[in-house]
Amino acid sequence: MADVVLDSVSQSYGARAVISDLSFTLPQGVIGCLLGPSGCGKTTALRAIAGFEPIQSGTIRVGGELMSRPGWMLPAEKRAIGMVFQDYALFPHLTVAENIAFGLARPAGRAARVAELLALVGLEAHAHSYPHQLSGGQQQRVALARALAPRPRVLLMDEPFSNLDVELRERLSLEVRDILRREATTALIVTHDQNEAFALADWIGVMHDGRIQQWDTPYRLYHEPANRFVADFVGQGVLLEGRVVNEHQVEIELGVLNGKIPVACAAQGCDACVRDCRVDVLIRPDDIIHDDASPLVAEVENKAFRGAEFLYTLRLPSGQRALSLVPSHHDHAIGEKIGIRLAVDHVIAFPRP
């Protein structure tokens, strides 16, 4: 049992609250992720779990054991929590094998474990190289192997791929997910890159202003964002003006949307105004489908070629803008009017502020 449980953890530097009232549970064997823009407090949360930062309220537990409370923390070196640092922090004076062996206190089985990890990260050929002789991606894997070697209860990763180029980033994140699965590691990753979060994590906590906005699966974060911040931060999309018809229906200028779940407006304590409540409705690019037969038309205002598809920015009759993903053989000129229709499964609506 190595659940990571944060219970209303807060930390502030002077008057500035960095994390406030942070609570979540990361179950054993699950890969979690804290996702948010820079300055949202995610790195501080990670460092508090690692034992590098004290906390001012709440508790942090791992596997039921108390790690931190206000005024007390178990020293980082006693926590058995592994960490992969943003700059990797490899020891420059040690070889790859020596780096990996650094956390293995007992000589018994050390060589075998190092060999195992070298194989796991595919660096057998570089066991005796020094970090500066390796590429960025290889250094990253050494850092991962070094952190995994002592079989930590939890593995923390701070922006693990931010120093790598985009192509390598995608490949490595899949590799890392595979490695963490094979080691059955509970892991918590911090990143500002949602593609990275989606590729790696089972659960994602979107953070903003020191708080978790939503702790959920990637699918639900994208399709059922809990608030405007999450809707805006995760994925692409626009908010269109709408009016609530009833619990399951919202009218926007493109027609009436039928949701499978009650619209969020009602769920947010706005009982009295369900009918005719004015809301903003989240429309993702994949919610608007290009259809020449549709009576609804919109003007192409801008387009971005993505290979398999175009991302069109459309100007609706009212002047509002929306995005639409269209297979790329439908090549329309800017200024052209094209037919569209809606394909919305879940209606996500937020009360107009």
């Binding site: 002077g14 995610k42 034992g51 590098f52 640092f85 700059d87 922090a89 490899l90 020891f91 930590p152």
Partner: protein, 538 residues
């Protein structure tokens, strides 16, 4: 995400330690300035009437002359080796640093020995042409030329870095805007490098103000020689202290200018070394460039070292005796223990900067490493007075047997520590910066305690820096003259002291042997410097 640390000001143990180290610098300054608290009218009047006018005039002329000398030699050679291509450039690039190995006082006595009335040059001229009158070498001009040749590497080294990173690019930018190369140099490249050049010139001027040995050889009266005379001939501590306090005023002016230049360097730095094409000199200009670099190298290094060897060889048999090895041993022991003390203190000061959360720490570190600016003669006086006072206090309390400090190595080692702390601190601090916080955190998260972290991460990562710091300090102490001369306990004559004694009797041949030993030791830091430079510029 930036790791903002709590910025609450809490005094801590590390800060107290750093303050104690900084106090070592402030004490001699305070002590010498305190000499004015008890002005001795008679003494002051004497100084003001007979001594000060000449000292001030000598110092100002010397400062102006050396500034121009090192500026012209240093900047011209830096530009040629950093931006141009001419025959021998690769060789001159590092060889022009060699004069750093030669203390100015050694160059000084070689110059006198060679060019004096009884020296080989004038003797040969007389033999060939009968009585000839050359300009007097023991003159203001002679000192200025000698010091310029000895100290230009400070400007050369630092200006070369500036030109290498921005010179050629600046020139190309100026040319693309329609300026000739010549205009580009004077209107863009030179003004851009001004902070670097100023810092180099200030370092050279600090060495000039601190210089004692050269002034003694040339009989050129400046503050350091006057302090020495007040100390040994007049036995007047107050006179020495008051002279020292005036010298400090000059020094502080240099420090302010130098620190400002350094601040400007930080903002003016434009990063990476540019891999632009060098300006290929040809024909007459190539010959001129090679000739100029060759002439400077010959006069500042090749001729003096050759002359030293010529002097030393014939008397090698008789002078390499037990006494010589005694000087040698004293030099090694003093330089060794001084270097250990400096490195240990540097480590403490560097860790204080790393661990302390006090916002004032960078300032404390800066003050603590300011001692390099203070002439050894000033430090000797400023540290001797409080130690003697402490000694008397002990004698009053515990009887005569307790007065052990004055006659011990304490004053000398403290003065070395203050003067050379910056030399040791530089490499140690930059070595420590490479052990980033995340490297420390990584070792912690892998289960290592403070003790094993120090042993298995910090020590191995710092080893090279510690060796560099110790070597640089060792050689600097070996070359040091005034502190050693003024504060050594009876019987502690070193190589540098021997050089001083032999040169003051005009026995150049006998001074040459210990001088050669010092020069050979001095080549080591030049090699370290060259290796660093090569790494920095690919």
């Amino acid at each position: 995400m930036p790791q903002a640390r709590p910025r609450t000001w809490r005094p801590d143990g590390w800060l107290a330690l750093a303050l104690a180290i900084a106090a070592l610098v402030l004490i001699p300054v305070a002590v010498t300035l305190a000499a004015f608290a008890h002005p001795q009218a008679e003494l002051l009047a004497h100084l003001a009437e007979f001594v000060l006018p000449e000292l001030v005039a000598n110092t100002l002329w010397l400062g102006a002359g050396v500034a121009v000398g090192v500026g012209v030699i240093g900047v011209s050679l830096a530009w040629l080796t950093a931006v141009c291509e001419f025959p021998g450039r690769r060789f001159f690039n590092w060889a022009l640093l060699l004069p750093l190995a030669l203390p100015a006082y050694v160059l000084g006595f070689v110059v006198i020995g060679l060019l004096d009335f009884s020296g080989p040059l004038q003797s040969a001229l007389r033999a060939a042409f009968g009585p000839v009158v050359l300009p007097q070498i023991r003159s203001r001009f002679g000192v200025i030329v000698t010091l310029s040749l000895a100290l230009y590497p400070y400007v050369y080294l630092i200006a070369r870095n500036a030109f290498a990173t921005q010179g050629a690019v600046a020139l190309e930018a100026a040319q693309s805007l329609g300026h000739s190369r010549r205009a580009g140099f004077f209107r863009v490249a030179l003004p851009m490098a001004r902070p670097w050049i100023a810092a180099g010139v200030m370092l050279a001027l600090m060495e000039t103000l601190a210089d004692f040995g050269t002034m003694a050889v040339f009989n050129y009266d400046t503050f350091t020689t006057a302090i020495y005379k007040a100390w040994f001939s007049l036995f007047s501590l107050p006179a020495a202290a008051q002279l020292a306090s005036i010298l400090i005023a000059f020094v502080l002016a240099m420090v302010v200018i130098e620190q400002r230049s350094r601040a400007a360097m930080r903002y003016g730095a434009v990063g990476r070394a540019a891999h632009t094409r060098r300006i290929r000199l040809s024909g007459a200009s190539a010959v001129l460039a090679s000739g100029w670099a060759g002439a400077v190298l010959t006069l500042a290094f090749i001729v003096p070292v050759t002359q030293l060897a010529l002097w030393a060889l014939p008397i090698l048999g008789e002078d390499l005796d037990a006494r010589y090895w005694g000087f040698f041993r004293h030099s090694l022991v003093l330089a060794g223990s001084g270097a250990l003390l400096v490195v240990a203190t540097s480590v403490l000061l560097a860790y204080a900067g790393r661990e302390s959360r006090s916002p004032g720490m960078p300032w404390v570190q800066r003050v603590a490493t300011l001692g390099y600016a203070f002439p050894g003669a000033v430090l000797a006086v400023g540290l001797y007075i409080p130690v003697a006072w402490l000694d008397n206090l002990l004698i009053d309390r515990f009887g005569a047997a307790a007065g052990v400090l004055k006659g011990s190595l304490v004053v000398m080692l403290l003065a070395y520590l203050v003067r050379f702390l910056a030399v040791g601190f530089g490499p140690v601090d930059s070595g420590l910066q490479r052990i980033t916080r995340s490297i420390d955190d990584a070792a912690r998260s892998l289960g290592h305690t403070l003790r094993t972290r120090l042993a298995r991460v910090h020590l191995p990562m710092l080893r090279a820096s510690l060796v560099t710091a110790a070597t640089l300090t060792f050689v600097d102490i070996m070359k040091e003259m005034p502190i050693t001369l003024m504060t050594r306990p009876f019987g502690w004559d070193t190589l540098a002291v021997r050089v001083f004694e032999m040169t003051s009797e005009g026995q150049w041949e006998r001074a040459a042997l210990p001088a050669l030993a010092i020069v050979i030791a001095g080549i080591i830091p030049v090699m370290i410097l060259t290796a660093h430079g090569d790494r920095a510029h690919g």
